[in-house]
Amino acid sequence: MMAIIGAFTSLVGALFFLLSGIGLIRMPDAFNRMQAGTKATTLGSILFLIGIGLQEPDYLGRTIILVVFIVLTNPVSSNALARAAHGYRKHIGAKMVPDALAEANEKTADAAAKDGSGKEAAHVD
């Protein structure tokens, strides 16, 4: 009984993996691909791994560790990628209508230029 529940849980998780793959192909730029990829793989891997743990209770402890690890680290890597992508937003043609981060960068760059201290503001392209 447990094995059947686990197998169906894994099936739902695998559907979210498929969804992240479709999202990576359909979305127009790197930020939106990240939106689809990070969220769908997080829930997908939670369900897929817990499903495996339900099918084979010996593995349950390790799959729980893996799930906690993925939930903690997946947003971190997506955040690092988003910061990197923001530096290339003009190259990759990302359309963002209010871009508060670019405005803040311009403001600090202006302040540094007015200051005349010669220090370059970080991450200005």
Binding site: P28, D29, F31, T42, G61, H86, P98
Partner: protein, 165 residues
Amino acid sequence: MRTLKAKMLASLALWVAWMLLTAPWSNQEAIAGAVVALLVAFLPLFPASPLGDLRLTPKAIAYGFAYVFVFIKALVLSNFDVAFRVLHPKLPIDPGIVRVTTKLKTPLGRLLLANSITLTPGTITVEMRGEDIYVHWIKVAATDPESATAAIVGNFEKYLEVICG
């Protein structure tokens, strides 16, 4: 006191991870794991872990459990949101980066908040400077910081404020 709490919590976390890794338990393994976890946490090798920011009052623990459920609900909702946007033939997106502010002071609280924002419907954290968080929003609904803060952060902040200030 604060560093002692951080080290005790770190050794507890290490011990729980050890117990999950050695799935069929025996007493000897549990005791050896506890000793090694305490040793590793109290050796002066690592800087103070941010776990010391957690509050351990009963109210904070109750809010912690409530936060887990709120987080899981937000994660499931965000996945259905992604599914809707990805599978919709017209791809209904309207992305932008908005600035939100947080009232949380501690590093652990901000880390949890940033991770939660990334896993909730339609938003990912791009950059964090002091108390400003810059969030990529797949369908911008509000551009001014106040209403964006209420829409994105408000739901989690009231729990995280109790859990880890």
